[in-house]
Symmetry: D2
Subunit: 354 residues, 4 copies
Amino acid sequence: MRQLCKGNVAVIKGAILAGCRGYYGYPITPASEIAEAAALYFPQVGGTFIQAESETAAINMVYGASAAGVRAMTGSSGPGLSLMQEGISYLAGAELPCVIVDVMRGGPGLGNIAPEQSDYFAMVKGGGHGNYRNLVLAPASVQEMADFTILAFELADRYRNPAVVLTDGFVGQMMEPLELQYPDNNREISLPEKLWAVKGTPETRANLISSIYLEPDALEAHQRRMEAKYIRAQQAEQRCEMCYTDDADVLLVGYGIVSRVLLSTVKALRREGVKAGLFRPITLWPYPSKALAEAAAKVQKVLVVELSNGQMVEEVRLALNGKVPVEFYGRVGGNVPSVGELQEQVLSRMAVAV
Amino acid sequence: MRQLCKGNVAVIKGAILAGCRGYYGYPITPASEIAEAAALYFPQVGGTFIQAESETAAINMVYGASAAGVRAMTGSSGPGLSLMQEGISYLAGAELPCVIVDVMRGGPGLGNIAPEQSDYFAMVKGGGHGNYRNLVLAPASVQEMADFTILAFELADRYRNPAVVLTDGFVGQMMEPLELQYPDNNREISLPEKLWAVKGTPETRANLISSIYLEPDALEAHQRRMEAKYIRAQQAEQRCEMCYTDDADVLLVGYGIVSRVLLSTVKALRREGVKAGLFRPITLWPYPSKALAEAAAKVQKVLVVELSNGQMVEEVRLALNGKVPVEFYGRVGGNVPSVGELQEQVLSRMAVAV
Amino acid sequence: MRQLCKGNVAVIKGAILAGCRGYYGYPITPASEIAEAAALYFPQVGGTFIQAESETAAINMVYGASAAGVRAMTGSSGPGLSLMQEGISYLAGAELPCVIVDVMRGGPGLGNIAPEQSDYFAMVKGGGHGNYRNLVLAPASVQEMADFTILAFELADRYRNPAVVLTDGFVGQMMEPLELQYPDNNREISLPEKLWAVKGTPETRANLISSIYLEPDALEAHQRRMEAKYIRAQQAEQRCEMCYTDDADVLLVGYGIVSRVLLSTVKALRREGVKAGLFRPITLWPYPSKALAEAAAKVQKVLVVELSNGQMVEEVRLALNGKVPVEFYGRVGGNVPSVGELQEQVLSRMAVAV
Amino acid sequence: MRQLCKGNVAVIKGAILAGCRGYYGYPITPASEIAEAAALYFPQVGGTFIQAESETAAINMVYGASAAGVRAMTGSSGPGLSLMQEGISYLAGAELPCVIVDVMRGGPGLGNIAPEQSDYFAMVKGGGHGNYRNLVLAPASVQEMADFTILAFELADRYRNPAVVLTDGFVGQMMEPLELQYPDNNREISLPEKLWAVKGTPETRANLISSIYLEPDALEAHQRRMEAKYIRAQQAEQRCEMCYTDDADVLLVGYGIVSRVLLSTVKALRREGVKAGLFRPITLWPYPSKALAEAAAKVQKVLVVELSNGQMVEEVRLALNGKVPVEFYGRVGGNVPSVGELQEQVLSRMAVAV
């Protein structure tokens, strides 16, 4: 079924197809349509939508629903996500799957409601306490808002860990065609059995969901187990998209909405004879470092572009480890670099090299 | 005045000498003695201690006190700090100085109350939303708990930004001699004038403390100003300690309590003929990358040791940018590597090189 | 369908038959089985059960559901009800129907979890601010727990006002046969149309649910309208039960569980030749003053018995207005007077008269 | 020292003279100047002012301060008081003295910010759960706002019970001369020793402040002790003011601001030859029933006037117990009856009698 759909709404359509039946959240611009769509559609499929008292409440409701074996989610923007950091750490520590959507806006503090990508550190490096990682996906289109939400539920269950759909006000607010792959609700999805969940049944009575391990050795063992699954995820789940990288002299790196501007920039540069390529991370964690290192192996320069003051650029530097010069260009506050602006950035930086 | 003092208590003694007169917090092991000491000493110097309803409340009280021009602080451990992430982002966005003490415990989630260093990402990379940085100091002794708290207030005011004292349950709980430099309360400290504060006076009536900038250009300009001060801080405030680095073949890197174990390890290794050196970052942000790069210039290997699964190690890699192999060894859950254990780690890793 | 059922569970069975589809609450002994049964049964009939963050949250969720036209309810015990007083006043002020169950326990403060009747003032006289009344029903059996809950929904809708089922830990916890009158779920109930509700439909877009009336004349007019409906309720809804009152010399008055002990006492007294009668108020507001005045017209003495230190006794005095001596006997803390104890009370007080 | 002062401010001046050193509250019109004055003056006398997160928080801070032996208070208006009902019940149950000021506004729900007297039931009959009473004083002038606040602290300590200053937006907002009896701060007040308090000293270590009594007999005994002190208060603390009652044919009864309109009405009626008198309760609990019964002994009619739909009138009826006809006239929403309006009410009702 092909339809014109807003990015934030596509998240919920994807979630429903993924079998998610619990949405707990609190509205905030520019993420509010997610809650709105959840309030509309979840009851229609027998699901639960709760507008919680606060974001702190919402993430703890997600904890509860997930502990009961339900595919559950929440959505918010920067300030709301900050309020959820304790809860996210608890979900990760208790190895509970869930999906969290962050439609990034301008920050820090109150900032504004225009798009930014400045929650990268908070969501990818871990804004909550303790050793844990979020699985993070970065959609760049309305279609991916749905598809990556579905994927996020799969990954969350596969690794029993929170998965984040990290997007921004552009992708959240824009309308594009959406093709839902599933002919009718929920038929295609076979939900994983969750033997560990506390379902209120005699069989699950002995199950315990907790993140407390009082003895140092017990907590260390727990963290080692978590680490092992994170290593598995790093091996199995790195995802990216590459365009024109085979013969590239300069590699442009950006995620989400930025990757679309970068693709236009690459094409414009090539029209001018500059062999530019695009590397677009789809998973921000695990970061597609291996593919990036390969794509950058022969380039003269890497330019990372973000709607931030430079956050993901650190992952690029870590991945390339000094082998290629990595430069950064960022815009913030809701401003987005134009193709012309980026062309100029590339040309001026390539000047010496070219 | 020389005295035997607990690390957590030293924090408050330092804070009072620094002219801090507002403490807002909620107790949590292993940070509770900070609140306890604040409750005892702050009223004695005409200051305010409030046990807030929650950590979320506490950090917002800090916001209010700081906006009024008062040197203000809070203290907590992992879960509490996660709950404060929204408030910290607001403080940074409104350019409000404050001091936040994180006595790290085992995580994620509830974890345990034993020491860890796994809030590094949350406190150093920025756990809250938006582009901002915390100034972060890492004490390794009771003396430094006091001294760095004083320094944190200085830095916070100098950059109008939150400053974090990032420590752990070991340093917080241990007792050591403390020498307070100031002969009597508050005489030495000349508090900075804060013309921007909202003091309830006619002169400050027009002052406005806020982090909202609705227009993209306005928010971008605000963030550029913030970025400029962060660059100044990176140039002026990198602090570290180096021991036996001049002729080192292997460089051990660790902060806080770990640096003390590492120093013993360095000495033990040298007794066995291995030229080991210690690099101890004092500021975790800005990270002492320049000094580290110099110290590591001639070593064969760098081994980073943390009470985490590897967080600060990324800064080391970024600083060295592939020039030297960087390895990692970590313990978690409250376990701390022994000198013997670390010697073995170094020796086995140096095997090929030696 | 006849079944053995616990009083608290009967509340929910009644609620579901009454078409209630929203339960919002927080568990507290001795009311917890209400929430438990709601959690079990509401989803089975397409309804919503939410365990809120607090009682304050719960009553405001009831406000929201009721505003949307849904039959909604909550349940708690003393401390929880106190936390709901603001919300109840808002519901009354906005003329929103709802049902609130108070399974009274020992108070004040934390008290204990044994039965009492000491929330009478708080629930009947109005514990919240402003001029409003709750409609209050006092069941004395498991059957009435179901029946009066159904009736409470009818009255709440009829008067667009909160209705309270005021019961206690005895009636809530005891098991008795329950006969549900309705052959299958919800078929018998024809829910009232609520043209005033905000249903998210185009037709109801102009509806406004609010209790704010800034102008004194407007607020006075609003309160006069409310007062008029309260007068209608006082005329139409007084309910009571009388036993052996025709020839009674002494009238025993008590509600809820006490009325059952009183009936046994009446019978025991009559066996000893004392013409005792029982007056049992079913509605505590509107209080069945007219029937009481008639029943007491020829008696020599009225003895009010409560599991409190004397609260409802004031209504009896107001109803009789000095025409008959009114005395009081109460037990509290979970203690209940025995038949022998009450016989003795009556006999000693009748001594002069007899 | 004679000064022109606002009623709400006089409350705080009285509180400080009474030795109160802890104010915990949340602002609400028309009570906000109380918090404002507390914020200004409490720090000047070494006291504590905290603007809490909510009224629920505020009353629990009062609990804490009172438990520590400090004279503590809060202030609010209708909605805020409703949120405090749980806390008030806990204070009463734990026998903790405190002063609570309710500057009544229009209700129920949001209502408006104009004066009313419709929290009478909520504050006098007990809006919280369980058997307890508040001591309630009703000032009618700015001078009494100060004096009765002082008296409230005395009574609260004498009976170890919450004492309420029940006033309204008129008395709270109006400015009148205030004569503070005490030459300088706090010299006159000798604060009672509180051997029961938990002061953080070795001597008070064994003290326990609690309202929990798990065993029925223990809770009953506790309530009997409380009841005994309430009976003592009823015998010792009934306060009222009477004007022209000696030869009155009609007795006007009203409290607070209403009593001032009633006095003018009495004088106007007497000028017209109607022997009217004024009975003004100063304590609303314990209600001055004895004096009222005496004052009403020879009148033909009693007219109760309230800024409510009839709440205190019940106490009048209970006190007179049918001996004299009791009628009621009320205005609400912020409207206040004029002298002419009340004259007419009296004359029309007296018509038959005269």
